[in-house]
């Protein structure tokens, strides 16, 4: 029996709790979307998407833990890398008007 099956309270397991927590992170991501849409500057958007990406990584990791799928952590790792790349690429793009790409 793994830790996620441990019961927390009133029949809910730790896995349930983690799933709800992941949903909480997703809700926070929706809030962050406001900044990504409104801006006003491009950097604001990139920043918001970067935070969104970090949130996604956490969501993936928590899902992996809650559903007992350790392979999700690999995806989270790939995502962390890509998220970083995306932030760097776009911020360099906005500075150099595409000269870097």
């Amino acid at each position: 029996m793994s830790l996620v099956d441990a019961s927390l309270a009133a029949g809910y397991t730790l896995g349930d709790f983690l799933l709800v927590a992941a949903a909480g992170f997703a809700v926070l991501a929706v809030g962050m979307l406001y900044r990504a849409v409104v801006g006003p500057t491009m950097q604001d958007r990139v920043l918001a998407v970067n935070v969104l990406g970090t949130n996604t990584v956490v969501i993936l990791a928590i899902l992996g833990a809650a559903l007992g799928e350790p392979t999700f952590l690999d995806i989270a790792l790939v995502y962390a890398l890509l998220n970083f790349l995306m932030a760097i690429a776009i911020s360099k793009f906005t500075v150099e008007r595409g000269g870097v790409l």
């Binding site: 949903a23 809700v27 990504a36 491009m42 918001a48 990406g53 690429a89």
Partner: protein, 196 residues
């Protein structure tokens, strides 16, 4: 495959049958990002929001135990597509706009809404995920065999992913090589070292 998406306990309250909190919030996120990608007037903003869209999409795919699709979404959508779109932007010009959002073309929106509604009508007849009434069960030979044996043979819960990455893993590998070669060829044509 059956047990993979079993309802996850009482906290994942069945708002609509079996939609858990995490799914619901991810759905909201994905729909919002898709909407804003379509509506954003500034192209660069649309590209950035589209990156956020693919993030949410990948989380959703992962939740449905399709990590291969999630990986592809991550690599293609967040990575390659963003870079390609940025390259395109770099080679063209980006007009400045006063308004933040596109104005919506009402007839077009209506037509899209009608289509969406029509498709939604068919939803009722689609068997639930993992349902035993699904027509796929009635095919006694091929699909039956995959459904019954996939987990035992590969240890992968999603049958589609098992087919892609295990049963025909070398095929997929070959496809990946082809796509990679195409990417290299595109870069050579562009005559740029993008990732230098």
């Amino acid at each position: 495959m059956t047990g993979a998406l079993a309802p996850v306990g009482p906290l994942g309250a069945p708002v609509v049958a079996q939609v858990t909190a995490i799914e619901a919030s991810l759905f909201v996120f994905v729909v919002l990002t898709a909407l804003f990608t379509a509506l954003a007037r500034d192209v660069l903003a649309a590209v950035i929001i589209f990156g956020a869209y693919s993030l949410g999409m990948a989380a959703l795919y992962t939740f449905y135990r399709a990590p291969d699709v999630a990986m592809t979404e991550a690599a293609i959508s967040a990575g390659v597509t963003t870079v390609l779109l940025l390259l395109t932007l770099a080679k063209t010009t980006r007009a400045d706009h006063e308004a933040a959002f596109e104005s919506v073309n009402l007839p077009a929106a209506g037509a899209a809404g009608l289509l969406f509604g029509g498709l939604l009508l068919t939803m009722g007849d689609i068997p639930a995920v993992g349902s035993e009434d699904a027509p796929i069960w009635s095919n006694p030979d091929v699909s039956q065999w995959y459904i019954a044996q996939t987990y035992a043979e590969t240890g992968v819960e999603n049958a589609v992913m098992a087919v892609l990455a295990a049963f025909r893993g070398f095929d997929t590998f070959g496809e990946a090589v082809v796509v990679f070669a195409a990417g290299i060829a595109a870069l050579i044509v562009l005559h740029r070292e993008v990732f230098a």
